[in-house]
Symmetry: C2
Subunit: 157 residues, 2 copies
DNA sequence: TTACAATAGTTAAAATTTCTAATGATTAGA
DNA sequence: TCTAATCATTAGAAATTTTAACTATTGTAA
């Protein structure tokens, strides 16, 4: 393990969680939504993985299947998520956001984006470019891809 | 709001949570500690803010005071945290890590650091430098400072 | 100085969340 | 076809978190 890798990892380990923590505080303060944190995270996951299964969501969020089933109940009742049985495999459930769910998610993102922009405004132009570039470098290693194919899957209630 | 600020904020909003999420998954997989997520976050907060009060921790984690009081009970019973009455204001409680608590925290960090280093290893040297530089740019805006003065405060059980 | 209000934390009971265990339904494989 | 594996739900128990009420201490102003 070379030194620059370690230094890079160490810095990331310190700063990334701090940024996310600040985002969380901001979201709480703004009362952007009447959702619990796990519910919001699940909404975000479904938004990025339309047509995903209950298991997918449970594994990503780090919850058991029964817990996720109950959490999804809540989101369905509130009209934010569509739970449908897959036609390809009738054991499976496919999850998608409703228009309302997508709206809530987009609105929350927007608020946080505006806040974050205010935070970054004082940065020098060159520094912003470095940060942007760094995010582009890291993205492929950490951001899971949207599975667009799943969206198209035919399913019914 | 200029464009580069927004682009920077947007990238950060996408990538930072993804990195932290990956860290979380890794920590769960490694079973680094027999602590719940809020307990671990609290441990980390106390580590960075020695001598902080219960309210400080509660506000940062986003919990009510009674919940934090109970959570701290657990950490004290497990021997990870020292809860002492402040001599300066006897209503207040000062929180500090025990040696064991600091050890658990350091060990968890170490494991995650090793994992993160493996993730970053394939990056080109120049890219690592950019990421490192970006973190240094962002640090002062998001990483809360350790309040070293609080450590020195005289207190008793 | 005394009285009143505000602050910090704890306790108790209720509500919520999450987990484990058991079950049903569907699909895959021998 | 029969058996095993997969995906999800239900039921009941355990853990976590919250609200409400209370204690102790400090600050403030008559």
């Amino acid at each position: 393990m070379n030194t620059s890798t370690q230094a890079c990892a160490r810095a990331l380990l310190e700063v990334a969680p701090a940024i996310v923590q600040a985002m969380r505080v901001q979201m709480r303060a703004q009362r952007l939504h009447e959702l619990s944190v796990p519910q919001f995270r699940t909404l975000a996951f479904i938004g990025r993985h339309p047509g995903c299964s209950l298991s997918d969501a449970a594994e990503f969020i780090g919850m058991t299947l029964p817990s996720m089933s109950i959490l999804i109940n809540g989101l369905v009742e509130e009209g934010f998520v569509l739970r449908q049985t897959s036609l390809l495999d009738r054991r499976r459930v496919t999850l998608n956001l409703t228009e309302a769910g997508a709206g809530v998610y987009a609105h929350a993102l927007e608020g946080t984006l505006a806040w974050l922009s205010r935070q970054l405004e004082p940065l020098a132009e060159a520094d912003k470019q470095i940060v942007l570039r760094a995010m582009e470098i890291l993205r492929p290693y950490f951001v899971t891809n949207v599975d667009a194919a799943a969206v198209a899957e035919v399913s019914h209630a």
